[in-house]
Symmetry: C3
Subunit: 367 residues, 3 copies
């Protein structure tokens, strides 16, 4: 037989060098087509990301790329180097969207290893990385930290990287949460807002049970996974999944579950939002498969002024195959508590996503 | 427990104010990507909407947006205000495409309530609206009337609109059926036509049984529904459908069934069509679900001159899970008769769409 | 009853005139959206087709259209005239990509009949055509020969072509394999390569068993088929397939199986490839249906210098529902032998694709 080569990607626990930065190999021009495929699964109400005319009134040169499109590209690009061998994605931390990206931008991403800590069991550990997505002008479009659960060992089948010495990633605290055009001195002239709810309408403690769910199609979740360059076979290789998936079948990539939850909430809470100031303390307590239906609920954590407008923080939750109203009826406000901190018998098995989301939202009174 | 908010959208019968115009909240730049996702489900033969080079020969600055893309955007944008609580879509009336839209246009839509008439049963009624889709230059890309069957009552859970007093919609009769570039004094020079059939080839009474069908995928119909911003959960929320769908499952959005029927006919009858002069008297007699296969048939109602070229009116019909040849063999010309006017035992249960379509079609002899 | 017209397309064996060139009717502007829908199914690692910034460093004005996108358009456009009545696609021969196409190009295709030979059984025959895809500037984006198995007879239901006398297609040997920007005198300055494997790393006889598979979604394969304008109902009409498909169901269009196999190999072998110099001796030994999972394997046939960089020829194979490692364990190097030349009992039933692929690949040492 011939010389046989079976390459694998991602890393095992001992492959991670703390302090090192990995340049992820994907280099992709984000075209208008990617925007459309994104919009075709995520019915989002935020006008600044949908309408060039709206965005230009606020000083953008075009409609900026949707924050969750940028987040998904950053996360997916990192899979090749960080999580293609991961057991699970554990946490999203301090996600920021400092600069506007536009269709036509060419993006790349890199990740710095902040920590790689073996678990006491010895067979796995937690890797903590910081990932940034930049365009060809070095504008940071998205930056965050995340944690993943990784098997112990070294991945011998991984080919050596073609170069090392990636530029370090910036501290997240140094990155602004609002892009330059939105540091507003005055609300621009223009037609009145089109959706119903404003910063003035939110009050701490309110619970929004978003009425409508979204069933996830088999093809669409694989298409988005590929389009974002997420190379984990758990999401699109049924044969791999028979032996290697906790669900014994393809599992929807978590960044998409995030996208479904956030956009299902959007007509109720984001129709007058102008930007995502950040996401934090996010996790996927349970998995989702094609055919599952996602519902979302939001609880207002804080409302305050932010320049001309308001800053509203929500705890956003996604559940599967049960309406958010039914889930809330059963679990009450515990629906919004972090699953990881709960006793085993208090965990909510239909809960598939949770995160703290902070938005920059127009005030009705600012007009 | 906290203050709980469960918003709903659409309107019930008593929410409609005759004479009032609702500005629909969606404001969307139609990019080249949306054109591609549209083309990926609808194999259309009309060259003017596919080829920039072809369109430019006829005086357009780019390939114009496909009429059925515009119709679907207008109809879908109106769901949030008009039909998200509807029991059924009843009729398409006098659909026109006065102006060319192009990729890059930012579109919005508004609807004027023409009538809201309770049925004698008291539990529902018929709402008749006129909807227009315009771009940011106030060019009307599509306008039509439609009727929907709506439950009686008021929708208390609908948040108050942020503003009222939408600009009235124009009378349909005031809107031209042909866009300015196509008011031709001479057929432009250029390569010969590429498809087979011309205005000269059609004769009143001919029946075209289009050979090929199209099976509808689960993901693709949800993607198109979201991309068009159609927010009715009947089309993408399987949990909602278990209790609320007449089919007990997700139902394909009617505008897509329209699209499949029209484009399945296109290689036979529209390869030399230059524009859709209008659609009228359209309905969806039966529902369609993912996995169904649609076939189409066309009957020529009228052929006449229109400027340099011809105007051909067809009755277009869509059937499901049976070829149009088999349906015609069984039902004969009754296949093309309006279902609503038939006695119950004469209705054709596999018929899923019917409409009168009028096209502007090149003459072979004009060259 | 009325005059009934049932048109069919494609041709039967006696309809092919040797020496004649058919202008296929599709005329399509390839937008950025089509690029995205293509990328959403095919996770390809070749940077020149993904990144405008990368492509511009190599002298292209934008990222060029992916070779397999061009091949799929050429092949699909030809179905209307060549293979819509075909029993099977038999062979891809001498596929070349002479010029770069870009998003915004308007493409058409034409095919010259090289041979139409009845089989001894009398009921069918082999048609051999040469097909070229050109843009509006007459740049040839893709050219190849192919063979198809066609039923005997004449297709009376085919409407007469609107014109004949298509411009002859050029001899393939006259067409360059490398587009002008890549006839390099020097490797351009720029950041270091991002993927691992270079021309210097390949050795004749190496076997690459690509680890990861791809399950094919029902919607996505129909969407790509329509987007490419492939009009064969075998791929999207379930009712037709019940009686007319060898699989009794929809069969994935071969050009897509080709795409899945080539892109599944790409992270291992094409991350530093700059162009496809050609494909040859390709076939689809077995069919694929929605839900099948494709795996790929590559064997290095030849490595040599090509200007500044290297030219690497692979035998590329696709298998279904079994990993390439398992297939290779069972069949050894016979996995890479041509199926057509094997005795019946030696044929590999899970093999769905095979082709010889030659790539222009950066040398590590060229930097």
């Amino acid at each position: 037989m011939s010389t046989v080569i079976r390459s694998k990607y991602g890393r095992l626990l001992s492959d991670f060098e703390v302090g090192k930065t990995y340049e992820h190999p994907w280099e992709v021009t984000v075209g208008d087509g990617m925007v459309a495929v994104f919009q075709a699964s995520f019915l989002d109400a935020m006008p600044v990301f949908a309408s060039r005319a709206f965005a230009q009134r606020y000083g953008f040169r075009d409609r900026p790329l949707h924050p969750l499109l940028c987040l998904n590209l950053a996360l997916s690009f990192s899979v090749h180097d960080v999580s293609e061998q991961a057991i699970a994605h554990l946490a999203y931390l301090d996600v920021r969207f400092p600069g506007p990206g536009y269709a036509g931008d060419t993006v790349t991403a890199r990740s710095t290893v902040l920590e790689a800590k073996p678990a006491s069991t010895g067979d796995k550990g937690v890797v903590h990385v910081r990932t940034v997505l930049t365009n060809e002008h070095d504008t940071v479009l998205c930056a965050f930290e995340r944690k993943a659960l990784i098997r112990a060992g070294k991945l011998d089948a991984r080919p050596a990287d073609p170069w090392s010495g990636g530029k370090p990633t910036p501290d997240l605290a140094s990155l602004p949460r609002l892009p330059p055009p939105l540091r507003l001195d005055a609300e621009p002239a223009g037609p009145p807002p089109r959706f119903a709810r404003f910063a003035d309408d939110f009050e701490t403690g309110q619970v929004y049970l978003h009425e409508i769910g979204r069933t996830i199609g088999e093809s669409e979740h694989m298409q988005l996974t590929d389009l974002f360059r997420n190379s984990h076979p758990l999401h699109f290789d049924e044969i791999y999944c028979k032996d290697n998936s906790f669900a014994k079948q393809r599992v929807v990539y978590g960044g998409l579950v995030f996208g479904f939850a956030a956009t299902l909430a959007s007509r109720d809470v984001a129709g007058n939002a102008l930007w995502d100031l950040g996401y934090d303390q996010g996790a996927h307590p349970n998995g989702v498969v094609g055919g599952d239906t996602i519902y979302a609920a939001s609880k207002v954590l804080e409302v305050k002024d932010h320049g001309l407008h308001g800053q509203v923080a929500f705890r956003l939750v996604g559940v599967k195959n049960v309406t958010s109203a039914a889930a809330y009826e059963q679990h009450g406000d515990a629906l919004f508590d972090e699953e990881l901190k709960k006793d085993k018998d208090k965990k909510i098995k239909e809960k598939v996503f949770e995160i703290t989301r902070t938005m920059y939202v127009r005030k009705r009174s600012a007009r």
